[in-house]
Amino acid sequence: MNKPELVKLIDTTLCTACRGCQVACKQWNEMPGLRTKQTGTYQNPPDLQWNTWTLIRFQEHVDKATGKFQWIFRKDGCMHCTDAACVKVCPSGALYHTEMKTVGIHREKCIGCKECVAACPFHVPRYDAKTDKVYKCDLCYNPISQSHPPACVKSCITKALTIGPKDEMIKKAYARVKKLGGDANVYGDKFVDGTHVIYILQFKPEVYDELPVNPTVPASVTIWKDLFKPLSLLAGGGVMGGAFLHYMIHGPKVPHEGTGVEEKKGEE
């Protein structure tokens, strides 16, 4: 059965920061809550954690021109990249592209190497020392593979979160941005070959906390995986082939009679 390529659309302009998605995510994925500290902000938990795969980022924003105050609410979490750095670096195949083109995780395969933690341009995968494994949103693989919405989308009361076939959702996003006008923009379809979580942003991306303006697969990952990895086998194989040819053409080094090898005969 062919499953459509999915995109989850996050319309930040509709979000009221009820944090229903945050709770629904924990509930569906059976992730515990951890005790956090009151640091004088509404932000809680303070960041993504191994047990918190999505959260609303609370940001106080003052418009420079008008001096008007406004809350910015942005649901953060895995962006499900097409060219996903985490999948590229994962040594064990724990991180993988699903048939819906989202990035799933086979946690039993995770060996806790933390390579994805350093590679992700969005700083999404989080490591838990207790289980020695990495955790992140899998866009509710089980429900979406059965054509049901993920827990966060299901819980969203303002329809800030919606999910559907990629083309349809991108079309919807651009229509919405056009309607919003101003600095409103679509974030996600233009980099890392397109993400499967796409934002409708009210402001330019640089305004938002913890949101990279131009996320890419790090150069270190490309050099490592696309250059040195094949080069290692090429060089090793080349040398083996070279040694074989050397043996066949030039031959091994063996002492010949009368080549001045036995000059001194003192010891024997």
């Binding site: 060996i111 933390k114 350093a118 250059l227 040195f228 290692s232 060089a235 040694a243 091994p252």
Partner: protein, 224 residues
């Protein structure tokens, strides 16, 4: 053993060489198991990929100790190029690539061996440092950690390629030379062909130990 054989390595040298050789080999095999998903099956021999990672990491510590001993033992003899004789040898490629009437004589280790030593020593140190950061990446800035992975891979490119050259030249490429690593005794004819100057030096200093004429303390001086 055999007549006409001379002692070229003492037991300490051989043990240290085997330590670094076996740990390096195990690191390459386990590393490949994690570097290429095609080789993930190697994990099965260790009871899973997670165990393979642990074996790789702790073997790395053993390798670090071994490499320390190797560098301490050989850096004076194999870590410094001596000119002009080494340059002459390089110009002739040691007689390995084309016909050379008389290969320029070098000291105990020829420039090819020195190059290998330097790649293993330098590459090994690189592997240990980058590997340690990869083992404990959470306490360091991501921007720094990210570059440890390609550097670790680059070290592997160099060591992996040089390993096969070393293997070939130390066995079938130079018949008789592998004895130096196993028994420590080599056919003097082979040794004289490969390291004429060293043989002359040892004979001159009275340090050359011939089979059946060993003295109680061998004079290689690596047991310290």
């Amino acid at each position: 053993m055999k007549k006409g054989y001379v002692q070229v390595t003492d037991s300490y040298e051989r043990i240290v060489h085997w330590m670094v050789a076996l740990s390096c080999l195990l690191l390459c095999v386990t590393g490949l198991g994690m570097m290429f998903q095609t080789f993930n099956f190697i994990g099965a021999f260790f009871g899973g990929l997670k165990n393979l990672k642990l074996v790789h990491n702790f073997t790395g510590l053993f390798f670090a100790i071994s490499l320390g001993l190797v560098i301490r033992m050989w850096w004076k003899e194999a870590g410094v190029f001596v000119f002009p004789e080494d340059l002459e040898w390089i110009k002739a490629a040691g007689g390995y690539l084309w016909h050379v009437d008389k290969v320029p004589e070098t000291g105990k280790y020829n420039p090819g061996q020195k190059a290998f030593f330097l790649v293993v020593a330098g590459g090994g140190i690189l592997m240990i440092l980058t590997g340690l950061v990869m083992w404990f990446p959470m306490s360091l800035p991501v921007g720094l950690v990210q570059w440890m992975y390609p550097l670790h891979a680059l070290g592997f490119v160099a060591i992996f390629a040089f390993f096969f050259i070393h293997l070939y030249l130390g066995t079938i490429g130079n018949p008789g030379s592998v004895d130096a690593m196993i028994t420590g005794w080599m056919d003097k004819k082979v040794l004289t062909m490969l390291h004429p100057k060293w043989v002359k030096e040892m004979e001159h200093e009275g340090k050359l130990v011939a089979w059946g004429k060993e003295k109680k303390n061998n004079a290689h001086g690596h047991s310290a």
